[in-house]
């Protein structure tokens, strides 16, 4: 069966349980997903939702309790981690403290039997790629967090992996550095054409970097799709809450505002402030959060709080003022189930 785009990694109903068989921790619970080759794939979810375990299943440090993982179409069960075409950027970098930066980067080629000159040249090339030329003789302890992160990246990339696994690689960096690294990682992925599987609990990071996002909760993928899908059409309340982009309306509130009597989501940007009584619903301004380009105005309505995102150019109401809220009928997005 020829596929249009080959799958780099495929989870086929994969489960990974820890602890006693009677009362197991279901770290990964029936995950099925395909990651296409050359894709920037983000695994997004709160801490403890099973993202790291999924990554470790791909790298081979965990084995599925049931189900199968195929890497480039090949069943991976019998292949140990050191022989998978996969490399990992570890959450805390895991650089070898006794080796110089150059020897850290050249570690993979050295294990593969590449001679010293060739592997050092490859290491220098990779260090240049991550903008660390000239740092080869240092020990990891003499680097900043951001530099260590780059060394970890170079150490993985020098092996020319077909899939690169990154476990919250930017988690330990400060905001400015994190944003710079996000862009660099994204452009690196595009220029190298390697499949990236990127774990994060930061929804902004996932949405801005990834081609596809899988949202995890309790060991399950609750939604998988493009960032637009996830952001604009959250499938469940959990996704809407976690991605944080949208208001979640209870069936009562939705019906009161003229929508379907279902759980619905409503993006803040779609909500406009009007005079009291002129909109779909009326309430009092509970709080204003100034965010630069926009201000998030939270309004207490009889059915619950709603947040409107108001562009900086528009006038703002005072706290405690009574306002109306209006939105286009098609901005209301129905979600599945009650949970």
């Amino acid at each position: 069966m020829p596929l249009a785009t080959p799958l780099a990694v495929e989870f086929d109903n994969v489960t990974r349980h820890f602890g006693p068989a009677g009362a197991p921790v279901r770290a990964v619970d029936g995950v099925s997903v395909g990651i296409t080759e050359g894709c920037f794939f983000a695994m997004l979810g709160p801490s403890g939702s099973g993202k790291t375990t999924c990554l470790r299943l791909i790298s081979g440090f965990e084995r599925p309790t049931s189900g199968h993982i195929r890497i480039f179409g090949q069943n991976s069960e019998a292949i140990p981690p050191n022989r998978r075409p996969v490399n990992t950027v570890f959450q805390d970098y895991a650089l070898f403290p006794h080796l110089t930066v150059r020897d850290n980067v050249a570690y993979g080629p050295r294990m593969a039997g590449v001679d010293r000159r060739t592997r050092h040249a490859a290491a220098e090339e990779m260090l240049a790629l991550v903008k660390l030329s000239g740092y080869g003789d240092r020990k990891p302890a003499a680097l900043s967090g951001g530099q260590r992160q780059r060394v970890a990246l170079a150490r993985a990339l020098v092996n020319r992996p077909r899939v690169l696994l990154l476990d919250e690689p930017l988690g330990a960096l400060d905001l400015k550095l994190r944003e710079a690294m996000q862009e660099e990682l994204k452009s690196l992925q595009q220029s190298l054409g390697i499949t990236f599987v990127f774990v994060t609990h930061d929804q902004g990071e996932a949405l801005s970097m990834a081609d596809r996002v899988a949202v995890f909760n309790d060991g399950k993928i609750v939604q998988e799709g493009t960032p637009q899908d996830i952001y604009e059409r959250p499938r469940t309340r959990f996704v809407a809450d976690f991605v944080g982009s949208a208001n979640v309306l209870s069936p009562e509130l939705s019906a009161r505002a003229g929508g379907p009597a279902r759980w619905t989501s409503l993006r803040g940007e779609a909500v406009a402030l009007t005079a009291p009584g002129a909109g779909r619903i009326t309430g009092t301004v509970r709080s204003l959060r100034y965010m630069g380009a926009v201000t998030r105005v939270t309004v207490a309505t009889p059915g619950g709080d709603l947040t409107a995102t108001v562009p900086a150019a528009l006038p703002l109401p005072a706290q405690g003022a009574t306002v109306g809220l209006h939105w286009p009928a098609d901005a209301l997005h129905e979600m599945e189930g009650g949970a």
């Binding site: 440090f61 981690p81 895991a94 006794h98 570690y107 993979g108 593969a112």
Partner: protein, 312 residues
């Protein structure tokens, strides 16, 4: 001064504590004074006295110490009879250290990386328990175990392996009439007595190797053997060096085990004991005592040059 915000220091103790808070160095000096005095005067001082003694010589006719600085006593160390003692001791210490490292590594690795809870407690107990009984009792117990009529011979006969034991005892130099009067016996007892001093530092250093480094090595394509050579061993090196300092120097300095178990050839410790006692040749005893110090110094210097402490 009726309503001050802070209560003034009351009592001498409170004032003293305030003083210490204002001058942290004062506290440091007071705390370190006694141990430094001990280390500086008693320990380093006696070592210096020892070193000085080794540069004196003994008048062969009168038996009196000649307090002129000379290298003659060191020259005596090179006489075949004395040099053999040094060589024998160093070879024994090296053999004990290497064997201890080989035996200790898997035990320490298991304890550091796999044992949990009860197993870990059992490990510590098993390693420490022999240290609780007297050293002399253990050595004499081993003499009985290794003796010709001892339990080991009996067990080996029971297993029908006497030929193997006899073949081992027939080995030149290290063999002998029975294990208790051979170099092999001395070696086994040294190994038994000093093994905990290798296991414990090794276990501590292996415990500090983060598990994710082993995973990183695996992830980068290393086989288990390569991970051992390139990650585990270098990171365990400080523990291995610490352990080998113990086993090596304890063997170099011991004068009891070779007296009780072995073929009564002399080791450095015994030579020191005899020269400062019955023979009354304090300078030669001192020169002998300097040998282990020099050897350990050389050993550490070499280990350092080979990068053994890079992981510290």
């Amino acid at each position: 001064m009726t309503d001050t915000a802070q209560a003034p220091a009351t009592g001498p103790l409170a004032r003293l504590s305030d003083q210490f808070w204002r001058r942290p160095r004062l506290l440091l000096v007071l705390l370190l004074a006694l141990p430094l005095l001990w280390l500086g005067l008693i320990y380093i001082g006696s070592l210096a006295a020892l070193l000085a003694q080794s540069f004196f010589s003994i008048d062969e006719f009168s038996g009196l110490i000649n307090r002129e600085v000379t290298l003659r006593t060191y020259g005596e160390l090179l006489r075949p009879a004395n040099f053999d003692i040094i060589l024998r001791t160093v070879l024994m210490a090296a053999a004990v250290t290497i064997a201890a490292a080989i035996i200790a590594f898997p035990i320490a690795y298991y304890a550091a990386r796999h044992a949990r809870g009860r197993m870990k407690a059992a490990f510590y107990l098993a390693v420490m328990l022999p240290l609780w009984s007297s050293y002399l009792v253990k050595v004499y117990a081993w003499k009985l175990i290794l003796a010709k009529e001892g339990i080991l011979t009996w067990a080996v006969e029971g297993l029908g392996a006497s030929t193997i034991l006899n073949a081992i005892l027939a080995l030149p130099v290290i063999g002998g009439n029975s294990l208790s009067v051979s170099y092999i016996g001395t070696f086994l007892v040294f190994l038994y007595v000093w093994l905990p001093f290798m296991i414990l530092p090794l276990q501590a250093s292996l415990e500090r190797v983060p598990g994710n480094l082993l995973e990183a090595s695996d992830d980068l394509g290393a086989t288990p053997g390569q991970t051992f050579r390139h990650v585990i061993l270098p990171l365990a090196m400080p523990g291995l060096i610490a352990g080998s300092i113990f086993t090596f120097s304890l063997t170099l300095g011991d004068y009891i085990i070779p007296q009780i178990v072995g073929n009564s050839s002399r080791f450095i410790g015994m030579a020191v004991y005899q020269h400062q006692g019955t023979a009354g040749n304090i300078p030669l005893a001192a020169a002998f005592a300097v040998v282990p110090i020099v050897i350990m110094g050389l050993y550490l210097w070499m280990a350092r040059r080979r990068g053994a402490f890079d992981a510290l």
